[in-house]
Symmetry: C2
Subunit: 196 residues, 2 copies
């Protein structure tokens, strides 16, 4: 296949995904009918489903890309960068993601697909994440008196909690928030543990 | 009304609420039909709706009581106590609460009722919460270099993020988690801000 064709295919896929994200954000997953997907994407259902097998495929692909982007931010720029990204993320899209977590409990097919996505993500991303935290510890940028897994869990809770807040439309002073998180993880906080 | 009667009424209300909580936890809000509420509560619909106007009333009352209980824990025993309570909370019930936050966006009546509940909660609770944090600062148990509102927001994000994690059924080492939170808020962490 000539290279220009592959580029064209990739661009078309990206265009479809962006339109689908707009449709999901605007109407929710259930409310994003095929007619509305066509309207937001600007292509016929025939063209859309030539590239993706189903609406669920579109959604899983978007959720996977999001997850990947946040993990990349986390490993390449650190926790502060990902918290700031969440604080500035689209409220409606975050609501769709949170809604999906909830719907999974009543929808075995969705749960199966999301679990498959998370497994795929974990294989690719978990090692990267642990390696970047290990490096932060080795370089003295992060406390090393805690298990890496516990730091990962803390970070995940912060990200999810912040996503819920942004999705609810509640404001937050992200500078103060980041400062508290940085203080929790700074390497010299350990020295305070024993009163002098 | 004689006192014994009021006690009886209160006990009956509490019994109905506990049965309703079991039904919501087991079937979700939508899935908790009147027949299932009757079965879990062990009373007829006539008896149940003599005490509460509707299923929504039952739910709002339970959500309000939960909210109140966590705020009391927070003000009386501190952040660690509430985080440990969330870590040990019922997974299914947390899912119902999170599900409701999501459903509110598509259900104006639910949103209106929950907003009313939150307003009632805020009037009663917000001042208590700020007063307890202020006291913690005054007694040197909490850093005082941040706005109280920012500490409240940080705490809310932690609680919501932890609730999402427990609702998902993902394990967490709560001791390590609590230690990170305590370190973020300890009064002497400020001294670390300027390198010596």
């Amino acid at each position: 296949m000539p290279k220009v064709s592959q580029e064209h295919l990739d661009a078309r896929r990206a265009e479809i995904l962006e339109g689908a994200r707009r449709a999901f954000s605007r109407y929710g997953y259930e409310g994003a009918t095929v007619a509305r997907l066509e309207e937001e994407i600007g292509l016929s259902r025939g063209a859309i489903f030539h590239y993706f097998d189903s609406k669920l495929d579109l959604f899983v692909e978007l959720a996977y890309a999001d997850n990947n982007r946040y993990v990349s931010l986390l490993t390449e720029e650190g926790i502060e960068a990902v918290l700031r990204a969440i604080a500035g993320a689209d409220r409606d899209w975050l609501n769709v993601l949170i809604e999906t977590e909830v719907r999974m409990r009543h929808d075995p097919e969705l749960e199966r697909r999301m679990a498959g996505m998370q497994e795929r993500a974990q294989e690719e991303q978990r090692d990267r994440l642990l390696a970047s935290f290990e490096q932060a510890q080795a370089e003295g940028r992060m406390r090393s008196d805690l298990e890496l897994g516990d730091v990962v869990d803390f970070t995940t809770v912060l990200i999810n909690g912040l996503a819920v807040r942004v999705a609810n439309g509640d404001p937050i002073s992200i500078d103060a928030f980041v400062r508290l998180v940085n203080d929790a993880l700074r390497p010299d906080v350990r020295e305070l543990a024993v009163p002098s």
